[in-house]
């Protein structure tokens, strides 16, 4: 019948959709790259430990059109009998819409397109042009591992390690030369033994000494920023060193080594003596992290409100710490304050080592520039 027909062809080479999909993915990546500053300090990512895939909200990939305000529109729906005026079809959580449009209360909302990326892809983009400045050749820690690898064949050795297959082959070869290709009349010369090596692993080590002011003046925002910074810093160092340790030091007028959780949650009142933290950091380096074999990255976050009388001591200790470190960073978080320089920052200006880097962060989006300042290629030039 000619009016209706049925066929099945080979469509396996049909790739157009996949190709345009690839272009779309590429655009997603470009958009992510443009928005790195926002994404780096995105809460959901910093707290996504262990998750492989992260969802990144980006704005540039919407298909903009003239359209009606979705929050303002009446739409037609269909009930299953007995609906009444006033029936609630759906309830949204506070401030959370159906993914679109200005929120109730006339606040301009933002339409997000969420891209899915693996953490590795994202980290790859964040770290793309970061580098480790002042990299010194440290003695690698040599770790003798338990494993033994058989790597070579010799003519002598303990009988327990006799390589029977090779021994037989050698024997047949020798016999064959004399015109009798078979196994027999074994001689010492035929014997082959396996030998082994103990494998030695070399590791490069780095330690981040994370110091933070936990005095009363450091609030949620300050802790959040330092957390975001340390998150990426440790992640980045892990891409360059086999073994990255991080120690947390919290201080007000006294310094204490604390757990990660305490570090980010704890808040105490009282004044601030940054020197206490540097003192502790120096003694830690002395006791546990010999600069000969460890790459040391101390970083200190504070709001800069240090006891003025302590500043000079800070400078001296910081100077000593810089001498033992690959890079020493001081970050001052000054959200919503006047942008005068703190006395501590002022004191630090006298330190001229290229290994000493200071950053000021006033906004979440400045975490990424701070990272770049710390690990960016220009560090050491005008530190």
């Amino acid at each position: 019948m000619s009016t209706v027909s049925l066929t099945q062809h080979d469509w396996s080479l049909h790739r157009k959709g996949a190709m345009d999909q690839a272009r779309h993915k590429q655009k997603v990546k470009e958009a992510v790259r443009q928005n790195l500053a926002d994404i780096v300090s995105e809460q959901s990512i910093i707290t996504s430990d262990g998750k492989k895939v992260v969802r990144v909200p980006i704005r540039t990939l919407d298909e903009y059109k003239f359209r009606f305000d979705p929050s303002d529109q009446q739409q037609v729906g269909e009930g299953n009998g007995g609906s009444k005026v006033g029936d609630v079809l759906e309830r949204y959580g506070k401030g959370q819409g159906p993914g679109q449009g200005p929120q109730a209360g006339d606040q301009p909302g933002v339409d997000y397109y969420e891209a899915e990326l693996t953490m590795e892809e994202l980290a790859g983009m964040v770290f793309e042009d970061l580098c480790l400045p002042n990299l010194e050749e440290k003695r690698m820690q040599e770790l003798e591992s338990e494993t033994v690898r058989f790597t070579d064949i010799r003519k002598s050795g303990p009988y327990a390690n006799l390589d029977k297959r090779r021994t037989i082959r050698e024997n047949i070869k020798r016999n064959a030369k004399q015109g009798q290709p078979h196994f027999g009349a074994l001689k010492n010369d035929d014997l082959r033994f396996k030998t082994w090596e103990r494998s030695v692993r070399r590791e490069s080590n780095a330690v981040v000494i994370a110091m933070m002011d936990v005095s009363g003046s450091m609030g949620t925002f300050e802790k959040y920023v330092s957390r975001a910074f340390y998150y990426w810093m440790v992640r980045f160092l892990r891409t360059r060193y086999d073994n990255v340790k991080i120690v947390f030091i919290a201080h007000h007028t006294e310094a204490k080594e604390v757990t990660e959780e305490e570090f980010f949650t704890r808040g105490e009142s009282g004044g601030t003596k940054a020197s206490s933290a540097y003192q502790l950091a120096l003694s830690l380096v002395e006791e546990r992290y010999d600069p000969g074999s460890w790459n040391i990255y101390p970083f200190h976050f504070s709001d800069g409100d240090n006891w003025p009388s302590d500043n000079e001591l800070c400078r001296q200790l910081a100077d000593r710490l810089v001498g033992q470190s690959n890079l020493f960073g001081y970050g001052e978080i000054r959200q919503g304050r006047y942008s005068y320089q703190s006395t501590l920052m002022h004191t630090f200006q006298q330190l001229s080592s290229p290994k000493f880097v200071t950053v000021t962060i006033a906004d979440k989006a400045e975490v990424y520039p701070a990272l770049r300042r710390f690990f960016g290629p220009e560090v050491g030039v005008h530190a």
């Binding site: 099945q8 345009d20 739409q75 949204y92």
Partner: protein
């Protein structure tokens, strides 16, 4: 032929489809000759996301493809039917469907094919569109080679942002500038005869205006046509891209105008045809389950299959009850009506109540039913359908301020525009126009709002 499907499956389906064709003919359907192709799911959602095989490449198609693929991979949705308005008609069947599922799809598709062949709204559509879109895709590919893929992509981003703003009834004359139409209004049917002499003696179109000085005599709804003809900025190849997008949109336009009636028609007939086949009890159960799934209503979005199906059934029932020929009436409805006229003429109070239709709106953090009055429901639906859910934006002036600026006006119907979106879209229109672009809309019935965008000076709001 790949060996993915057994010979038996194909033979059974082929016999089934031939039988369905016969039944459809006996029942009075007059579809185009229809060719079915069995394809894997990936091809199905690919064609679904492009609207048609072979269309030009653009990342938005890739985005749609990714969404469809994900929905399919996670088992959230599946495209059952895909049919293309051509003569002969092309339809695609999913290779993972059972024979019975594909028979139902075939019956459904033949009714679509009949609709394409006989509805007045499709009378002017090209029936060789598959070839046309392939040629278009090739031309655009050529422009990518000549001008760079990025340049073409940026242009398409802009054109696609206003692709829905076409008007199938627009003629070239509508977008010609005012000066040309200085003719006096006709007084009698023969007026134009008196002018014949004058026309032959006048120099041929000496006063043909430059394409840029365009002030339409009436507002023009077809933004793409106006821009293609009069943009002071676009190169010829860019105008060609605009005209390609417009031509393809015009091809899809009748399908947007007849979604409810077309799906209703196909659902009505797949049920009739399947019932006319000799199905076993098991097959009948499978069919009934599928049919119910297709017609499943939704509290948030109207299911066009269900609404169309119920309206058509209602028309047939009422005609028969009045002593008329219900079936004949349906054929007439299929020939004449679009969604708008179908709703306006045949969505009765009884049906609105039966279907339990309502209007809902976001109030605070809730979606709430706000109206159940049948006329309010009907009128809202008509309003929504008459512009396919898009605001009507018209060109008022192509030489605004005497400076070749483009002045657009939103036809206010009480619904606010999404302003952040409108601003972004204005920037796209500016990419196509090259000069400042204006948009007049309203914040409310009382308050006018005038926006403009210029590449150098950015967005502005005027009071």
């Amino acid at each position: 032929m790949p060996d993915t499907l057994s010979r038996r499956y194909v033979d059974e389906l082929e016999a089934g489809i031939e039988r369905i064709w016969e039944v459809a003919q006996e029942l009075g359907l007059r579809p185009f000759p229809t060719h079915f192709e069995i394809v894997p799911a990936s091809v199905m959602y690919e064609i679904g996301s492009y609207g048609m095989p072979g269309r030009f490449s653009h990342w938005t198609h890739g985005k749609a493809y990714q969404v469809q693929k994900m929905m399919y991979d996670y088992g959230l949705s599946k495209i059952y039917e895909l049919v293309i308005n051509t003569n002969p008609c092309y339809a695609f069947l999913l290779e993972t469907n059972t024979v019975l599922q594909n028979k139902l799809v075939a019956a459904h598709v033949l009714a679509h094919s009949d609709f394409f062949a006989n509805s007045a709204h499709f009378a002017r559509t090209s029936r060789q569109m598959v070839d046309t879109v392939s040629l278009n895709a090739e031309r655009i590919r050529g422009y990518e080679f000549a001008h760079g893929a990025d340049e073409v992509e940026r242009l398409l981003d802009a054109v696609l942002s206003i692709q829905e703003h076409v008007d199938p009834y627009a003629t070239l004359e509508d977008v010609e500038p005012d000066e040309r139409k200085a003719k006096p209004p006709r007084e009698s049917a023969f007026d134009d005869l008196w002018g014949l002499d004058a026309r032959t003696s006048a120099p041929p179109d000496a006063a043909a205006p430059e394409r840029s000085r365009a002030r339409p005599s009436q507002p023009v709804r077809d933004l793409l046509l106006f821009i293609e003809r009069h943009s002071p900025r676009l190169d010829d190849w860019e105008r060609d891209v605009v005209s390609i997008v417009r031509a393809e949109m015009l091809y899809f336009y009748p399908q947007m105008q007849t979604k409810i009636i077309n799906e209703g028609w196909a659902s009505y007939w797949h049920a009739q045809i399947m019932r006319a086949l000799d199905l076993s009890t098991d097959e009948y159960l499978e069919f009934a389950e599928l049919h119910a799934g297709i017609l499943q209503p939704s509290s948030r979005r109207l299911n066009p299959y269900h609404l169309g199906f119920r309206i058509l059934e209602d028309i047939e029932r009422r005609t028969n009850a009045d002593g008329g020929d219900g079936r004949a009436k349906l054929y007439e409805v299929r020939e004449l009506e679009s969604d708008v006229s179908l709703i306006r003429n045949y969505l009765t109070q009884g049906l609105v109540e039966d279907l339990d239709l309502y209007l809902y709106q976001r109030v605070g953090d809730e979606l709430v039913v706000v109206d159940k009055d049948w006329k309010a429901v009907r009128d809202r639906l008509v309003g929504e359908l008459s512009s396919h859910g898009f605001p009507v934006i018209q060109v008022e002036d192509g030489d605004y301020n005497g400076n070749l600026e483009l002045y657009l006006k939103h036809s206010w119907d009480g619904q606010k525009l999404d302003l952040p979106y409108a601003e972004k879209t204005l920037a796209y229109v500016n990419r196509l126009w090259g000069r400042r672009v204006w948009l007049e809309t309203r914040k409310s019935d009382e308050e006018r709002l005038l926006l403009s965008y210029d590449a150098r000076e950015g967005h502005k709001t005027h009071s």
